[in-house]
Symmetry: C2
Subunit: 279 residues, 2 copies
């Protein structure tokens, strides 16, 4: 099920700058029982990303309407909604056209069949060789230039490892290929600063807000692989998986600790309240 | 005129990883009187880019055949041929599919109506605020993650400025938004090292080879804005424009010097020999 600029079709013009240059942004949202989780937050991030890339944002109301329209036809209990916004077609080479007509592409996908054990007993992660480049102008934005993540994700196959952790070119730990990363040490919560690289995740920000509210000290800082490996607890998060504790990074083992479990509960409650109230 | 995987059509599936992640590469080639200039070199670069990104390269012969097929129908004296190769569709998220079926998209475009004065009297350039991020894994490759160039090119409008020069995040000068950059100082030719950022241009490499052949010392190094501004001559190059001398960068003026002119003549002769012999 796909809607491109409101039309039910599955293809885009090859002149679209999304295809030509990765000139656009995307959001990946969870759909539960036809309800789109944190829709407003995703639309707000999409909007702020468009502002940073100077893409005139398509009507928020319209995207919200189309997203709900797509999900109405859904029979599965859970699904993934992807929203892509590009700078549309036109312009000469990298130069954008004088009048930008953004493209919006909404599509529904099956919810990935992750085992429930990933949330409860945790996952196994590895460090990727592929590094994240540094660029303040693009850092934080969920844009369509994702070759680094594709290359990192291609470093391993098979089901023994669930996520790859990415370092920047200075060897500081930033995030997972598809997740943000947190660790707990001496009852404080730590995560990477995303001013140079990384995606500013919706769930990441909710976790930070909930933790601060609960009186848990939260530190955004620069940290190394060794600092991460000496953590008490480690977890990754995103909008589809929620929180996955990490039970092992290469040769280092972690237990699924009480703080991670408490944050999981808080996140689940917060998500349920959104389902009850947001739309 | 467009050929996608050999079919005459103008659209691609939105599941194509070129659209989803910028997961692919491209080449931009000049077509003169139906002859594709430096076709073999472009195909070789495309091939080596595919190797670096682990995209199984579509048959070189086939792309060459399709490129010539497209150009046969051409009536204009000059045109631009663009070849895009992506990792195709499929996979889950960033993870590539087990069997990759690359997409190839060839399209013909009008030759840009640049005034002849750009090659002879030179152009005006500016320094862009948008920086090039650093990433050895992607540096040199003409991949589809081009948001930095799009953002840099959006910094100015109007015809008074023809090219923007881009610095990396350490403020070293790398290249133009759509060109490679050279400067001449005390009878030596200088250009940026492209191991961290930038596109390893076909014309750049031809210029280096021709200059070495002519006994002109060529230095690939790291240099600042001030070093560039103290140059004797400056020029930019790419496969479509050839060589454009730079006559002005912001407040600093340059003359179109004898070494730039000599390299222009050598490049033209070399290009003519390619037209006579290559295909």
């Amino acid at each position: 099920m796909i809607l491109i600029n409101g039309e039910s079709k599955g293809h885009i013009d090859i002149t679209d700058r999304g295809f030509q240059y990765g000139d656009g942004l995307f959001e990946t949202l969870e759909v539960i029982d036809g309800h789109i989780v944190f829709l407003q937050r995703h639309l707000e991030r999409l909007h702020s990303g468009c502002l940073r890339l100077h893409i005139p944002f398509p009507d928020v109301q319209l995207i919200g309407f189309e997203a709900r329209q797509l999900c109405r036809s859904l029979s599965a209990k859970r699904a993934v909604l992807k929203i892509i916004v590009t700078r549309g077609s036109g312009g000469r080479g990298y130069r954008q056209p004088d009048v930008i007509q953004a493209t919006r592409a909404l599509s529904l996908h099956p919810y990935p069949d992750y085992p429930a054990s990933y949330s409860k007993q945790g996952i196994v992660a590895r460090f990727c060789t592929t590094r994240l480049g540094l660029n303040p102008a693009l850092a934080g934005i969920k844009h369509l230039n994702r070759l680094e993540q594709v290359m990192a994700r291609s470093e391993w196959t098979g089901a023994a490892i669930q996520e790859g952790l990415m370092l920047d070119i200075n060897d500081y730990v930033i995030e997972g290929t598809m997740t943000n990363l947190f660790y707990i040490k001496n009852n404080s919560l730590y995560t990477a600063i995303l001013s140079q690289a990384g995606v500013d995740g919706i769930i990441r920000n909710i976790i930070i807000a909930l933790s601060v509210e609960q009186g848990l000290p939260v530190v955004e800082h620069v940290f190394t692989r060794d600092q991460l490996l000496s953590a008490d607890e480690v977890f990754v998060c995103n909008s589809i998986i929620g929180i996955w504790p990490i039970k092992q990074i290469e040769a280092t083992h972690f237990s699924v600790g009480p703080i991670t479990q408490a944050i999981q509960i808080q996140l689940n409650e917060f998500t349920s309240r959104d389902i009850d109230n947001e739309q």
